[in-house]
Symmetry: D2
Subunit: 348 residues, 4 copies
């Protein structure tokens, strides 16, 4: 940590700052420049320490020099993490993962039919929501456990791992029973109790970035999970909230290569939420793969105008199959292994 001393600091201020550094069990290293005096704090950084120094008289600014996350960083682990998610499917490490299915599990027949359609088009993981976070208390909020049972059955039948969202620690046991991958939604990225709880399981966890989650906060949220002993974390970029109102969210493509540089964890792109408009899903999916994403999560519905949620961003089976063909071309062009998704790049 580095403390910049204000040019208007009073004579005793520097002594006081040094004393406070030493009180914290660290050492101070002074460097007197022409314009500013700078004090290096030798010893480990901590978030509280930043605040501590900021309020001391004579301090102009405080700069952190180490990153606040460790276990999820590239420094800690140079190789890409590859996660086995069941049924022989892996996420990370070159192979493209494609999670697809309806936003909500609507009924038994529908999730089976959806699973068949997305598998036929090349998806290798089945998604479906049983507990739905909805802005309005009057909207459809999911089938709950019965939905999970349908989802698990469809996954077994089609030999696909399944992913579903966990919204509260109180459902963790039932969700773990039925799912292969636990999804933590954007609105729960900083639900720290939930992060701790999934960290205590060994299930793969897909952690979505919050609507206004900074990269550093997102990686810290992943750190919560890994720090509890669960190394199987998949990140998911799903669009951020900006001033632009032409789409529901703004897909942040910069995040893909940056997160892969900062962390060894795999990163999935969700262009369905990242745009909120079905017409933009395919081009943004291609963009995300070209930029290095390890896979996609796509909402698919046979009749989007009858979907119980997220119809506006859902692709029909036909559009999804088209997306898979064109994504396969792009994936091949950037050197991805697309054997898992079962679509020939030349099949366009």
């Amino acid at each position: 940590m580095i403390i910049v001393v204000s040019p208007e600091a009073a004579p005793g201020d520097i002594d006081h700052i040094v004393a406070r550094i030493e009180e914290s069990g660290r050492q101070a290293h002074l460097s007197v420049g022409a314009e500013r005096t700078i004090i290096g704090v030798i010893g480990s950084d901590s978030p509280e320490l930043l605040d501590t120094f900021l309020v001391l008289p004579g301090v102009e600014s405080v700069h952190q020099v180490t990153k606040p996350y460790r276990l999820v960083s590239r420094e800690f682990r140079g190789d890409d993490t590859v996660i086995e998610v069941g049924h022989g499917v892996t996420v990370g490490g070159g192979e493209l993962a494609v999670m697809a299915g309806p936003c909500s599990i609507e009924n038994e027949e529908h999730i089976f039919e959806s699973a068949q359609a997305v598998k036929a088009a090349g998806a290798n993981i089945l998604r479906g929501g049983a507990y739905k976070p909805r802005s309005s208390p009057y909207a459809f909020r999911g089938l709950g456990e019965v939905g999970l049972r349908y989802l698990a059955a469809a996954g077994r039948e089609l030999d696909m791992p399944v992913i579903t969202e966990l919204m509260s620690t109180s459902e963790i046991d039932v969700v773990c029973e039925y799912t292969d991958i636990i999804q933590i939604g954007a609105r729960n990225m900083q639900n720290f109790m939930l992060l701790d709880a999934v960290g205590k399981t060994r299930k793969p966890v897909m952690l979505k970035r919050a609507l206004s989650g900074q990269i550093e906060e997102w990686l810290l949220a992943a750190e919560y999970i890994v720090a509890q002993g669960n190394p199987n974390v998949i990140l998911c970029e799903r669009g951020i909230r900006t001033f632009e109102t032409a789409y529901r969210n703004t897909f942040d493509i910069n995040a893909i290569p940056l997160v892969k540089e900062l962390s060894h964890l795999p990163v999935i792109a969700d262009p369905s939420h990242g745009t909120g408009k079905f017409g933009l899903v395919e081009p943004v999916a291609k963009g995300a793969i070209a930029a290095g994403a390890d896979g996609l999560m796509i909402e698919v519905h046979d009749r989007p105008d009858h979907a119980l949620s997220d119809g506006a961003q859902s692709l029909t089976y036909e559009r999804f199959a088209g997306l898979m063909r064109s994504v396969a071309q792009v994936a091949a062009a950037v050197g991805r292994d697309i054997s898992a998704v079962g679509v020939a790049a030349g099949a366009r």
Copy 2:
């Protein structure tokens, strides 16, 4: 709901849209203009319906005409809600409420001493965190139940209601046992399971706005609580996340008068989080009161450079007493009843 038909719609598209409206149990009302055909949907709006229409061929845009929240709206209830929070203190309805205390409950002696100091300066509600949401898993996360016990004891001793944050449904019983007001933090504004749970209690709930929470989403989150049967909701503006990096958050003063126009619920301002810098807390507190806030929440610490959390935005006892004197002046100028906070406006 209003559907705007695209000028490029195919001949059968309008018939199809009308049929889908009628299938949903509503009626369609066509209006053919020079530039666009518009279809009014007669019957109640719902979030799913918006998506339903957006994906129909020939639809250019869909506009909601009713607000998605009801129980918390001014339309539903014209008079201001006034909430009894215990020890004879009310929030809303003319009287100024001031919640103050340390960010975290640090130990028994400290919370007692803090309570005495903030009460002496004019605060009428005591705050203190026992479960702390922290970006980093390595930061101090609160004393838990033992902290709640200290807080409740300090409130009893000083005859002040107390407020503390609830982070998870699993702590709801213990938090309810010790606190007078439950705080839902910004990061949990859309933790819908938690909203449901506090909606089933009858405790006053203070609901903070999320970092990127739109006014409509915030009121919908309040609607979740009220829809479960708990009408005692207090809103709290605590700053939003913007592009500006000169402060931790940007206090949104516009929200104060707008929320009071749209809703009958009281609104508290939290300039400590709303700025993140102790030097800005007092001017922004005065601004919020001048703009019509029903009260303040302020972080106070005897030695901010030794605070276990949020030191940079905490006021010393002395600064807090100064804030109370100047806020009382402003409150009097805008016609607020400041008898509860026990500071004479002329005492400056």
Copy 3:
């Protein structure tokens, strides 16, 4: 400037960084810590230098330690700047300045009538636009020079200084001929040629903050003007662009006390643009004054539903007079001198 060396830096990287520092005419000061090596750069900072070091191999991050603006900073000048704007009116230094009038100058009679109305209510500076920045090329774009003539005549007649917006260097002479204060609009905050041009005059300049202008960029834009020799700069906070769609802009009240801490220049609040909704103008105006603004700019129109621009945020004469009475109360409560605005604080 401080350079943080990456823990993965190659052996020769530090030598290379030091060499590059010395090549730039500065000195390097190494500090080897347990977790990171830090290199202090001794000598003046510059924006190019930041980029220079960021791209060197082995550099993890670069931190600026001095502020990039000088002449407008509190360090450079401790006392508040007070600007004479004509007709005996000053901006800054304790006295409240109130600029009011229609968005656009519509015709001669209208600007005279508006001037009388706002003066009667207590405004001491007359505003009116002759060159209007409009998002659409099909909107009303102002009367140009003829409008300026009407504005100047109204100001002379009512003994009030006038303010109007300058949009391009090509109108600088004609605008300077007729106006007392030149306004630089939000969309031109970083129109550097325009900043240079007004810096070469000695007219008072009111510089609005850009829609996404950071505080540092805003002060640097002011520095452009002062660096050319014109010290008469007034800052104006007019709301920023955020994710919130309930208002046109989000008035940033934090900016008021922060800018007054960082700079000696006066700061005016524009709650008309800062909210975009007439119903929010008065509460936000009171809030801005309570937080320390040196004055207000308010759009006023006798019949807002017939205004040629900005009707939705314009106050009627009656509402404006009401605003002035309640603002005077707040101003008195925070110790402002309101003699100039001619409204007795007790007149409410």
Copy 4:
């Protein structure tokens, strides 16, 4: 335009709204629903009209149903615009355009050498700045006309069209003399006088999106130019300003397919500014092309740590050549014609 009447409207309000609509020369069409009365306004929309209706008593909200831009819309022109920019190069229409070169023109030799390097790697348009918008008045601001002369000479010598930024109407003649494409920078997207001025030339204009420019505003800015008679407008997405601080700007990939859906104008991606970090330029460039961009603008410098501006986001010649090879692969995968950029897709 559609007016939603408040349920609390007074009896005469609707009559008054209808009268105001008719006064404006339009017709009113009432539709009385269960929850709200809706008034359709028949006749052309205009921005002023929105404000007019918003302030009428009894109005709850006003919705625009037609887009405010016309000439640049897909409705106006279904086919993609293809622009001849000189030396046989076109922008739009299938062929990939790549603009590359240094941020600033530094001296004659440097721009020649840069031109050779970027051409050898496959660029077909040469970029270089002679007038530089800089946040700080103390930064290098470009060589001015002498720089333009070097740039034009390099373009002639290498048989490449050139592009350079115009910052003010006062330089329009000299810039037009030397350049093939005029660039309007992000900070001038709403410098309406400048838009008018370039609209009066027939030179191709590349219009960058503002830091906080909404898609609709960006297209309206293009409309300004086309409305003056110049149809040769190229759009350029260069990243927007968000809450994320890990990069200088957030490249908005959603904008690429959306703008191509709404408008017939070509769209160029600028990942150099869109990320601000050289390490992210290549992945984001590939993503933008995969998502449908018509070309790229890339900053290149032989020694980024000696660049006079934007060093941190500049690619070395070698990195740029690598980018061109990998972009060519992606472009081929999405069916782009890459013959113009002279890089074999198989050359990787």
